[in-house]
Subunit: 428 residues, 4 copies
């Protein structure tokens, strides 16, 4: 049997192939000569599986898609406060290359417009890197996201530098506000090198999957950035990633995303998947025409919109029953599914409503699929309160899905692998 | 045992109570005299449980919190295209009462600023309602979201109308662009009535929970708006709901939200919960000071940020084994957890990698918690391909969690309640 | 002999007649049906002569050309400070109907954009006029500028009111800032009546000539507004009168001007002439196409640009000679031309350089054409200083061109009609 | 006797001396250390007289006051069209250092803001100067305006270059729009040198007087720029010279002006005077506090506002009488004062109204002070028409004030020095 995913991708590419609208970026010759027919799409799952169709190993320059990753590096290297002091997080509703800075401070609105991205580049690396060290830190970081050593397209880089007037204008303006504190040309030079890093569609999908996978590259297994940084980067991609089409994208596609002028486009769906497409023809917003079509289709076909309310699921409390009788009776709450706040609340409610008369209570996690931090804390609090009410509490957790099962503050719990263990111990 | 949730809420209110910064809205006397010490918070779950602490039954005017709900009604009553033609979805990065319309068309940027909200009000109801009918449709709709009949505070409404100059300015401007097509004063009158609807914090939480619950009021069970509308409304709340602080909110809280000038604040977390807070003192953005603090705490404590990547979970394929032997052997894939695209992809991969030699294959859904549409479609496609490869396929689904288990196109499946049924049938 | 001026005007009209570019205003039917071929031009001199060619007695609505005149009335009726507190004088570089007000105060940028003109209308008349009284004051004032009783085109007015949404928007916005302090609809109603006043090209030229003639209608002789108001109004017309084409007009035409959407256009050259043209087709800025061409020609042909440096003129000191001899000798400075600051300075210099040895000094004004206030004061100071130096000073001023010839502070002067009088008196 | 002008200046300086509000420019140390008490004022007349009081020979850097002069050079060196294609003439209502360019073209709004001034600098000199040649052309040109060789303050220049980030930003932005076509740093370097030219208050007054004197330096007698350029420069100074306070200045002072950040301020009143003041403390608009006060006083005291309507003057037709009788009678129109369009029109009217019966007509210019081009042409047209009507026409012009007295097209005129010549010739 063949996997359905490659077939799906091939079919999707076939459907958009006939759309030849838009134009490749033409501001430098190196981009203008790109083959406009190139077309590729890749899915990378958070457990490291990569599916692709089309031109998935063709190299092109990463361009603006480097922005969220370098922003992530700046946050990781410097901490949130120093970065937020210099780059905001507000959508500006403007095109990528506008010089619009916050009135009094000169702070760029967000790290997805060039002003913010240039500033973020300047904040990558330890406190006082040389320009070369900083570029190396950025290329190294992008490589870690991609899971292979990436290189710079020196020809594109040289050509971009010759046409970098607007970025130089932005950088000098940032320098005049002390948002940049060094020679603006050096920073623009480094930023241009960052944008000239060569990637394939496959690389981009893995990079996006690293964001979807809480900062751990799912192929290499390397932790590339800390978890809190991931949340920040995904939020900013969601509200600011598609420039002046941010609202359209947020409503219709609903996936944190970023596009690049060479035709790349990535999306990262938290906990599920990284997606990348490549097609050089751009719409007037500067986004790949076919790339946008593909993402609209992926989102719609696969329910990937972050505001998609999941279909109603089974009750988290699968059963609430008593095993045994009389003084040996055990109240068993058999749980199932994933336990987040909403599920934990339901379990708490069941425990309260039941007000178990039995001396022993077991929470059976055998069929529980996942449990997040708040779910864990709420369950342990239930355990603690049951203990204080005089109950003996058991946690049936054969695969130890509950980390650190310690209720604290007077709570007490016995972890067992099987409800039978409790029953049998009672009988003895 | 007492539930942990009310305790949590009470503690959270206690922590913010000492913050008396900010000022109640003072543009009309009726709001200025509000007791600034009022403080309440309510959680409403998607299965209809309501928890509260503080002043949860004090009535106040809904104000701008009516905006997402009326937008939802307009989308439901008129369809997406006519509404999108008149109100955009782009964040404007501006305060709520700016008259900034799109240059050529005069279309308001989004339905969360007054210009867009006034337009959305004008689009509520069937094609040609009288103004009174339209107000009734809106009040009726808000009541359906709240689950009880709401009323209008006529004193606030009258006072607001006396101070409605800016809204009248906006409405006349919209009329000049033919975004409004009737007397601007009539529309502003109706919009002001909409904003003067009295709600409690409890009401607001249920209203938010209705959005979190795919449009069905979890208390009354009534479907208030269709599902596709919910996704649109939540997306717009996420990117535009907090005015010029949208980016801060998106990164730090990460819950689709909306605030009102009377001190209310709601958040709706898809599939989990509706939250409402009430405290009249406002920050310079016009958002409740303590309300914002409470939401920051809720989001952080409970992992409610939509970009929060869920903790790693158990593998969806719990086991892949063979029951029986020889020609009677059955390949069983025992699945667990929730099946969305990412999980389905993992199942597909397991099926492909296994390339089962057995004539019969069973997919065991007994421990599956939820399955969404794309998950269902992908599983059925696996079934179809296995059929075409010559396998006999069984679906073990004791609680019928898979809707409409029909693979189509040459696929065939037998649904059973227990794997034993298959085994036994084979023996016979 | 026929005057050259009508011939010149006729020739000028003939030259622009073939230009049929542009479109009449079409926002109300009454303007759209105007005969686009109408064409007229009128010159009105500051001594009341009126020359015209073409359609000079066709009535059309005054529209925005009423703005400078109503601004003049507001300044005259309320004084400068109250008006400047509510309407600024800065060019906004924007189209006439933008709602752009100063950020903090809501003050319109200037009285030539609608927001400022609506505010100026509200400030016309004594402190608390009824709306009807205010309209009557405005119509009465416009009539005084024109020198005949003007009337309102009720059909245009009614139609404009039906399409006044943008002005109503502006007025409500002004009301929200307390720039307007009464019902915005009443003010817009009055403003619309003001704009619907019927004028002919002849009327407009006389109105402009009243501004050119220091506020006195040169035909009727009536003082319509005080002199300081005229300077203010002309300055604002120069910098803000032509909307977003203000700079082009200031450099190429250089005459304080104002256009109206019905096709009228006026210019007022201080001390010389009022000009009006009429041709309904408008350019994209909303200015009459042929009207602009005519003004460019008039300015160029006649050297009317206010920054035109006048050709070098004769020396203001025509001769400096001695009449008589010995102790009877009189030093005579024979002056000529106009005496403004620059000329007076030259006279002062002559007096200083000469350091007259003669006991008697005569300033002969017989050939002096005009003398302004600073010229008068400087001449009298020369007289005073000569007196203090021991001279006897005579002013030869047969037509009493020097008003109030009193040097003060120890100065003394004898006014005579003829230098011979002095000579003869000496002989006696 | 002492001239009144120095006394007046001294008194004016004394009156503003106590105002110590404002702050010297502090963005570079060299400006910050300027003695804030320095105070000077100079008048330079169009015939080359220079009056001063206070610190009139202290050197300071010219800064933005160089802008109108370099703009003049660009217009003179390249012609109007190439310059207007790259720099507009519209007031922007913005501070001097905003990067606001026209949307589509990137053209700076006007040459008084930095973007326009940098562009104007790039257009000075012949088509392809080296940067050094261009700087020399600018310094040479400024020197010609001042009447002495000016030098560059190298220390200020070096310091400005270190802080030129905003200008570099502007220049790179201009480069990106191809408004600049060479290395932006080279242009900013040259522009900074231009701004670092050292001048005294005396120099600035002579420079302004050169503009007031139609482009001829009234001290050196050198023609520095052509007349049409002067009109353009003065117009732009009037509407754009004082940045975002342009409207206040235009209404209250009414003199084309320009200020510099080192404390200089110039004004040029066409045909009369150049004024300069120096006082380093600046108001929030960046204009010298005391300088603005002095100009307000000068304008008010001396009636220098360009919109000041001159006081009513004597009639241009001093008398209209007949000399001699019967067939020998001569109709004499004795004219006086200055003959511009308005005066010429009055003369035409007199000639038409009189419809002289006499065979001979004399226009007596003996008491005419000045005559401009349109006045000359209209008088000659009167002569031509009188000739065609059968009259013999004489021009009494003892000092040949009428240039080229040739009516053409059938007109004929006899120029005489004295009306007696005509009378006597008749008698003979």
């Amino acid at each position: 049997m063949r996997s359905v995913v490659p077939d799906y991708l091939t079919e999707a590419l076939g459907d958009v192939e006939s759309d030849t609208s838009g134009e490749p970026a033409g501001y430098i010759p190196e981009l203008a000569v790109a083959d406009p027919e190139r077309l590729g799409a890749v899915f990378a799952t958070v457990d490291g599986q990569v599916y692709g169709a089309g031109d998935i190993d063709t190299e092109f320059t990463i361009q603006s898609i480097s922005k969220p990753f370098t922003y992530a590096m700046a946050l990781a290297d410097r901490g949130f406060d120093p970065v937020l002091a210099k780059v905001g997080v507000e959508p500006s509703g403007e095109a990528f290359n506008q010089i619009s800075l916050e009135g009094d401070t000169g702070r760029p609105y967000n790290p997805m417009i060039n002003a913010g991205a240039i500033t973020a580049h300047s904040l990558a690396g330890s406190a006082q890197p040389t320009p070369a060290e900083r570029v190396e830190r950025v290329v190294h970081g992008l490589s870690a996201f991609a899971g292979r050593r990436l290189t710079i397209d020196e020809a594109v880089c040289a050509s971009e530098l010759e046409h970098a007037h607007r970025n130089l204008a932005i950088a000098h303006m940032l320098r005049s506000h002390n948002i940049l504190t060094e020679d603006p040309r050096t920073v623009v030079d480094g930023y241009t090198r960052q944008c000239s890093v060569l990637v394939t569609t496959r690389d981009l999908a893995v990079m996006a999957a690293t964001l979807a996978n809480r900062g751990i590259n799912p192929v290499s297994g390397e932790r590339v950035i800390p978890e809190p940084v991931v949340r920040q980067v995904l939020s900013v991609m969601f509200t600011c990633g598609m420039y002046d089409a941010a609202g359209d994208w947020a409503t219709q596609v609903g996936i944190p995303a970023k596009s690049g002028v060479a035709g790349g486009l990535i999306g990262a769906l938290p906990g599920q998947i990284g997606i990348a497409t490549f097609s050089p023809r751009l719409d007037p917003h500067g986004n790949s025409v076919r790339g946008v079509s593909l993402f609209e289709r992926f989102s719609s076909d696969m329910g990937l919109h972050v505001m998609e309310v999941p279909a109603a699921a089974r009750a988290v409390v699968r059963s609430n029953h008593v095993v045994g009788r009389g003084p040996d009776a055990i109240r068993v709450l058999q749980l199932q599914g994933g336990i987040n706040f909403a599920a934990a609340e339901r379990i708490v409610r069941e425990a309260v409503d039941t007000a178990p008369a039995e001396a022993e209570v077991a929470l059976d996690l055998t069929m529980v699929y996942s449990i997040d931090d708040v779910g864990r804390r709420m369950l342990l609090e239930v355990v603690r309160r049951l203990t204080l009410d005089g109950h003996e509490v058991y946690l049936v957790d054969p695969e130890a899905i509950m980390p650190d099962p310690e209720p604290g503050n007077g709570g007490r719990i016995t972890v067992v692998g099987d409800i039978e263990q409790v029953v049998h111990s009672r009988i003895r």
